[in-house]
Amino acid sequence: MSNVKTGITLFSLGTPYLKGELDLEGVIRSAAEMGAEGYEIVASQMIPSYPYVSDEFVEFVNRCKEKYGIGPICYSANMDRGMLKDRDLTEDEMVARAITDVISANKLGCTVMREQYLLSPQGLARLAPYAEAYNVHVGIEIHNPESPITQSILDYVEVIEKTKSKYIGFVPDFGCFATKPNKPYWDRALAGGATEEQLERCAQLRYDDVPMDEAMKIMAPEGQKCPALFAALNSMYGFVQFRKSCKAELEGLKKIMPYCFEMHGKCHYVDENLHEVSIPYEEIIPVIADSDYNGYIVTEFEDEGGYDSLEQTRRHVAMVKKLLGQI
């Protein structure tokens, strides 16, 4: 029996926050008004004492919880492997940073932490004793172009199963189940002079799994005349890939479900009928509802420009609740 709650990552409201239209309290209040039962916070975006959590910030967060009824449930960490000028961080240094994040997550009252894939499977295993001690479940984000069945994710599964720790696992991002081209990128290419017909041909190359080099070569004569077309094609082979069907990926999700601590409900565009146009939520949500998953689906609106982040986030939360049969 699943127990699914809906939340929002405050990152979804990053645009009004960065523009100064909403302060952090306003962002939290908005999330509560949209029906979030808890929120994720990208630490490097919104925690004033980053990478630490000050007593003052804890007080602020608790005050907001009293006022608006919701608190932080996931601390979203970054793995800044390239932060030094002349070399990558070593694994020891990355583990040290991740331990700091676990301590900060705990201080904030989060029992889940999103970690990024630059922390290797071995590094994640080294984090397990700290995650257990601080009661913070550390999940590697599974982000497009990775999916629950790609090799680099299976490498983490191997380590998770070997350590037998219940505190290391995953935070899948639904963007990895996309079955249609990304709408904001498509719109941008149209605005940049590409035609629907050209974009359809690009999408078909992706659907047909034509290798990227070859696809670029095929579209080269037109792409050279229209850089926006090339940019769209690039994205189709980048972070917003898609395929005809996500059945195999959803089967993969079922297998790793016991290791999932939170889900990122990615969205780029939800229409007025509460339908995400690229990511098949109608297929994804039942898989989670029918599992033993106990945790949050956290709305993550990725603002690519062109749509109102408050409206998109509100629609997405409503869509997830509707598909879960909660409204």
Binding site: S44, Q45, G82
Partner: protein
């Protein structure tokens, strides 16, 4: 600099921020504020390129202090500032040693700032996505 990502929410050079600053009652130079053009904050050690031009004249780097977190850093120190975090919503103050200060009126400020996004590798050997946080604006000096 080849391709660089641009993620802009607000102007890099902050409006109405140009003013002279005083030491011992004398104008010792001028200052203005800038914002990081990105969705999250960063450690100063990710800055790869930083330069300032005022009225089309390049400011010598050693005359610049970059002020965040109540501290003042020289651009040559950025690579050692891997614990100094510049928040995405907090402006940094760029302070330029220029005894006598800038004359009244409008001045054109051009800031060149490129940094690498340290969690976005784009190849082996310490290659990360370059991000463009440059900005230009003509400001009236307010003091």
């Amino acid at each position: 600099m080849g391709f660089a990502l641009r993620m802009n929410f607000v102007d890099v050079v902050v409006s109405d921020s140009l003013k002279n600053y005083y030491v011992n009652g004398e104008k010792m130079g001028y200052q203005f504020d800038i914002r990081l053009s990105y969705y999250r904050g960063h450690f100063l050690s990710v800055i790869d390129e930083f330069a300032v031009k005022v009225d089309d004249i390049e400011v010598p780097t050693e005359r610049i202090k970059f002020c965040i977190n109540g501290k003042e850093f020289s651009p040559i120190e950025f690579d050692k500032c891997y614990t100094e975090f510049w928040q995405a919503i907090e402006p940094a103050t760029v302070r330029v040693f220029y005894p006598g200060g800038l004359p009244e009126g409008e001045h054109k400020i051009d800031v060149t700032l490129f940094f690498r996004s340290p969690y976005m590798p784009i190849g082996p050997d310490h290659q990360y996505m370059p991000v463009d946080s440059c900005g230009s604006k003509t400001l009236e000096i307010t003091d």
